[in-house]
Symmetry: C2
Subunit: 276 residues, 2 copies
């Protein structure tokens, strides 16, 4: 297991963590802080412009750990599903243009008015299958992200690492998974699932689970402020062959989003050394 | 699958749903409404007195679908774990005295200050094993309840039906499971797990998952107000041999807890006929 205490090389920052800055400031801010990796979101990319983002990322020799995000394949009708697939194809192009290591897919929840969970999961599989040829052609790995079961209804119906790996098994080359500690830490099958994910972990996301948690989406904690055994999970992930960045992704309406992003970066560096 | 539309016999009310009434009013209110089953909580039982509760339940020929709840086995030290086991032994006695069909166990989360999830799960197994001889002697089945993964940190580290069944397999006779739709509806393994639970489903709890959900514990919906395929899950549960009550358990700080419990019972009856 890598000793990260004095090795900043494997710290990356997810745009969501410092979202009060536009993407150009995020890139420059990370570079100033000595951070070598970043995970942009598509909205920030659209605001800055993809080619300008590409220039800035190159100028600062920034590793783009992933592009967040494609997905959201589920829809109440065929037109909605087709629009989602078209949008995902554009996301592949954007990810390729900025040299992202992978494109993260957050699958989507139940279509409005639907209670058909099995049907929605079929839509997800079919949606990824439909975009996969283009992703393969662009050499852009698709990183299927299992999200916490509390997001199943309205955000993501891929809810365990095993379920994501089942999809990868079915869809084949060009697919892999995101391991985000926030979504998977509780899973009794986690050790076996991470081992099963060997060679397919495309990106690794860290933050912490707060007690109490006051919101289902926007109340994540900074590493060390919660109950997740971060070192334990990283040991498993690295044992399974992962050797990339640890991407700090914190949605935090009540705390970190209210602070100066430059301060958040300094705290993230300190906590990365101490807890990740 | 039973047709419940005109058959109130299988409706039960969990005390938590109408908790602004004390237990005696709950029993009388359910009886007045034609409801034949109730699931008391231990705090209500303590307030009323166990023998008085027993009398009232008998007088109204009320089926006690389960007693809520034992569990909470995890603790930071041996004294805390022993106190939990002692308390669970008292819960077995109480459940037996009121003629409950089973005692529900909510296992407990991480001990304060701990990140050792595997160790906490061992404490849970050991705690149930320690109380099991007494439960067997009292003919009181222990109903292990998998709770939604969002409760893992601070409430329950048994988070899937398969995990609960693994525990039952390990512990043997006298153990079974609760299937509460709120906790398990999202699980991609649910159909297989319910089939595996054949003969071991001790009680079945219903409510609904709201979109959006604004609190991790106290924002459950009334049946029909959310996205859970209640008929689909009941079909699986009955296919697996369950033929008992459907216990309406709704924690709802922002809605149902604010209403007159008599009104809540009427709405529950209507929704039971239409959606359960």
């Amino acid at each position: 297991m890598r000793d990260l205490t004095d090795d900043l090389r494997w710290l990356a920052i997810n745009s969501a963590t410092i979202k009060s800055w536009p993407l150009d400031q995020q890139i420059e801010g990370c570079a100033r802080a000595g951070i070598t990796g970043i995970a942009p979101w598509r909205n920030g990319l659209a605001d800055l412009g993809v080619s300008r983002a590409r220039e800035l990322l190159r100028a600062h020799q920034m590793t783009v750990t992933c592009l967040c995000r494609g997905g959201m394949f589920t829809a109440a009708d065929a037109a909605g599903r087709k629009a989602a697939i078209d949008d995902n194809r554009r996301a592949v192009d954007e990810a390729a243009e900025i040299g992202a290591r992978c494109l993260v897919l957050v699958a989507g929840g139940l279509p409005a008015g639907s209670k058909d969970i099995a049907g929605a999961r079929e839509q997800i599989r079919d949606g990824i299958a439909a975009m996969l040829p283009q992703a393969r052609a662009a050499n852009m790995p698709l990183a299927i992200e299992p999200l916490h079961p509390m997001t199943a209804a309205d955000r993501c119906l891929i809810n365990t690492l095993d379920q994501a790996l089942d999809l990868c098994d079915e869809l084949g080359a060009g697919t892999g998974v995101v391991v985000d500690v926030y979504h998977v830490w509780w899973d009794p099958e986690l050790p076996a699932a991470i081992d099963r994910a060997r060679g397919r972990i495309l990106t690794y996301h860290v933050c912490d689970w707060l007690v109490p948690t006051t919101d289902l989406v926007e109340d994540r904690g900074m590493m060390g402020d919660g109950v997740i055994d971060l070192r334990g999970i990283r040991a498993m992930v690295e044992e399974a062959g992962y050797a990339g960045h640890c991407d700090v992704e914190i949605f935090s309406a009540r705390n970190w989003w209210k602070r100066d992003p430059a301060e958040v970066l300094q705290v993230a560096i300190e906590r990365y050394r101490k807890f990740v």
